[in-house]
Amino acid sequence: MHNSILHVQDFSLGYRNRAGDLVSVLRHINLEIRQGESIGLVGESGCGKSTLALAMMAFLRGGSEVISGQIDFHGGNLFTLSSAKLASLRGGKVGLIPQNAGQSLTPTMKIEAQLTEALRLHSNVPSKQWRQRAIELLQQVRLPAPEAMLARYPHQLSGGQQQRVAIAMALAGNPELLVLDEPTTGLDVTTQAHILELLRSLRLEMGMTMVFVSHDLGAVARISDRIAVMYAGEIIELGRCADVLRTPAHPYTQSLLRAIPRLDAKGLPPSLAGYPPKVGSVTQGCAFAARCQHATGQCQQDAQLLPHKEQWVRCHHVGQLPASNTVVSHLVPPTKQNADTLLDIRELQISYHKPGFFEQLRNRPAPVATVDDIDLTLKQGQTLALVGESGSGKSTIMKAISGIQTPSQGQIQLQQADLNQPVEKRDRQLKRKVQMIFQNPDASLNPRHTVLEILQQPLRLYFGLNNTECRQRAAELLQLVRLAPHYLDRMPGQLSGGEKQRVAIARCFAGDPELVLCDEVTSALDVSVQAAVLKLLKELQQEKGVTYLFIAHDLAVVKALADEVAVLYQGRLCQVGSVEAVFGGYQHPYTCALLNAVLQPDPDHAPQLCGDDTAEQHPPAQGCAYQRRCTLAEPRCRQATPPWQQVGGNRIRCHLSLDELSSRNGMPMLIDAANF
């Protein structure tokens, strides 16, 4: 089992910039991948992990060139192969599963055509058996009703199903090596867990070698034998999965692992200072030195990747660092108790359906509303998190509160003010009080405005400030989000992801809001930056007393930041309660399924899968919203809407009694945090 299949030797890659200088993307990578093993490439955006993975298929992005070294596949240098041989290698012996399956499948071709194309090019299967083999492949990736699936188009499949089809296509060529480029990023928690389990079992069945690229240490922990941690184009730590995750030796790995919010820890994780370096900006010395608390003058020189205990580490100070298994102090901020109610949502119903003229004539019943029967209250200075898979109506509720989507029924009130009216009809004070921060700062900041112009807009709109006042106030706002005033004249394109999100937060606080709607504010950010942004949000809350309505798909982030949690499925509430109650007390079957699917950066943690991950298009017309996927569903769940059951502040909407819920579901798996 120990013969090498792929050998990366002293591999450096770069491209020439406009000025003709060589910008290095990968620096002296040495990596040997053994037959049948699964290796995880981990790192933050821009660290070169995808570039390395694609180079393993001899695929270089346009304009880049190999500076030194080579990559051998079965002993032969990939970069000396003829293009015909490369073409048969890719998709044949080396398969790629891309990040976004939805975009990698051809939208105008049926699944059958795409699979047969893969079979025609990369397998020896005779053409008569293509259909048979395609069905087998779809069965292999556990897609229900494979024959019906063949006749569908990619857009008719859910994200998880698309990803499974992409895996089936990669399997068509019977690959020896499978390169997976962030295969589960962007999928729901439950779907992600299912796909990872599928990949694990496929590996056991077929003995494939895998290169798994991800920024998510939880996903990597689940699937890899060995982990290579990358930073600024270098491998800084390499070792067995359990060793790297339990006893990380490099300061970067240590702080990265600490910065990940966990379900089993209280409060906010400690954050890393600074931002990851820009591609090619570090040419000499340790790339992490600028953010490392242990950095000394020695770090200005290049460090070697040297063995240390069980793993390989690139650090001058390895072994001399203070023991890292000291108890990590998580920030547990106090929350305001007994505050007044700020936001009150009563029997909210939102429907995107607009009956046409003829439908009105025929008097057809309207389809089931997208979001229905939402009752929520939010106290001043607290944080309420909306949790659920994509399509569960979280964003729709936020749109209704912000006045973009008018609710069809129900009441939304901000203290005495009526939020049912669309944003144009609200008065200036009310507009000012409700502000929103978006998921992706790349999209939410106008690329043609300077930071000053971005911050000016709310200042002008709400306070009518003139130019000099605006500049003064904008500089103060930047200070509020810990950015220096010289950022005022920069364009968003010149900022890093974390800096952009800080500007977006500053813009939101420009209006001095009372209610801030946060839509997945950290999901587009790197882990090391995420912790800092979460900390900033919490500090701003304490400073300004604002109230957050928070959407997140990462339950660990929710646990770290929120006071109250509302679990949504298909636009209906399943459970509402305090963080402690929802995460640790009685649970709705759906809450339980969500929590069990969470991945932890822990080699021993295994997600438990409840039911399947088939996405639903419409909520059921009657009964419990979760009836179709619930493993505990009974006939009464299909007929009657379940009643609310209440224990303390914990409301659960289920037909089963609380005793039954606790005994059947079991408590969520709480595993001790990895001690490091």
């Binding site: 973009i404 144009e424 807009q457």
Partner: protein
């Protein structure tokens, strides 16, 4: 040209426009185009003081003189100096079409961005109306209007500006649709910004690239249209020199005195080609893919 340089002034230190200029300088054809274009603009601006002869003075004794050291481009059917007339012949055309382009861009882009932003039924119906307007043979319509209202610079600016604005609507609306679903527009909406602010502050800067290139192309087309009108006798009132009019006046004698047609035609085509070259280089310099630009 003012349409292209104006935004540079509003972003004095913006590295984006500096970068665009750096890129543009690398394009040989773009620089040639820009040089010729500037030459034309200078000629139009100060040509009347540079002209060696009186451009309205008729002299029956020197009709259809061949080009010589005295009359560089020869003389025309009324014995007027063709060099002086060609030098000034673009002034009227450039002034009126520049104003017309400006008008077309302002109303066309505002209407286009607004329609793209509003969307829905209003957009649907108004775009069908725009399609209907585009189906009108504009030259005939222009002739009708001029015949009704009379021949004046203002009429030409307004009518040309109106008709060319219609085509701009389509292009700008197409460019806008790409940005309307972006989060920064949604952010402005949730902030409660007025529709006017969203159109002018959020969307306009993003479609400005497409708009500037479009403006240059429209200007070139409008110059041709204006010269066609002059050729037909509906543009400039004689004796003011104008290329289209000069070609019309001398075309009967093309076999005897080809230079009388050739030089104004050369002047007109060199101006249009230089605009096209400059616009192409500019589009490439700001990274706008002409192949993808909706036309």
């Amino acid at each position: 040209m003012t349409a292209i340089t104006a935004p540079v002034a509003t972003h004095p230190n913006s590295p984006r426009w500096q970068q665009a200029w750096q890129n543009m300088r690398r394009s040989t054809s773009g620089m040639i185009g820009l040089a010729v274009l500037l030459l034309h603009l200078v000629a139009a601006a100060i040509g009347q003081w540079l002209a060696p002869h009186d451009w309205t003075l008729q002299n029956g004794y020197i009709m259809f003189q061949t080009p010589s050291t005295e009359y560089w481009f020869g003389t025309d059917n009324l014995g007027r100096d063709l060099f002086s007339r060609t030098l000034i012949g673009g002034k009227e055309a450039i002034t009126i079409t520049l104003l017309g382009t400006l008008l077309a861009m302002v109303w066309g882009s505002l209407a286009g961005i607004t329609l793209g932003f509003i969307g829905g039924k209003t957009d649907e119906w108004l775009m069908r109306f725009v399609d209907a307007l585009l189906a009108i043979p504009w030259l005939l319509f222009l002739l009708l209007i001029i015949a009704l209202v009379g021949q004046s610079g203002l009429t030409l600016v307004l009518t040309l500006g109106f008709f060319y604005g219609i085509a701009v609507i389509r292009v700008v609306r197409g460019a806008t649709l790409e940005y309307v679903p972006k989060d920064f527009v949604l952010a402005a909406k949730t902030r409660g910004e007025s529709k006017f602010t969203i159109v002018t502050k959020e969307l306009l800067p993003n479609v400005l690239d497409a708009l500037l290139v479009e403006a240059a192309m429209r200007w070139a087309w409008m110059l041709l249209a204006f010269s066609s009108l002059s050729f037909l006798g509906f543009g400039v009132v004689p004796p003011t020199p104008d290329w289209g009019l000069m070609i019309a006046d001398n075309r009967g004698m093309i076999s005897i005195a080809p230079w009388a047609v050739l030089f104004p035609a050369l002047a007109l085509s060199s101006l249009i080609i230089s605009i096209n070259l400059t616009a192409d280089a500019f589009a490439k310099a700001i990274g706008l893919d002409r192949a993808k630009a909706p036309v």
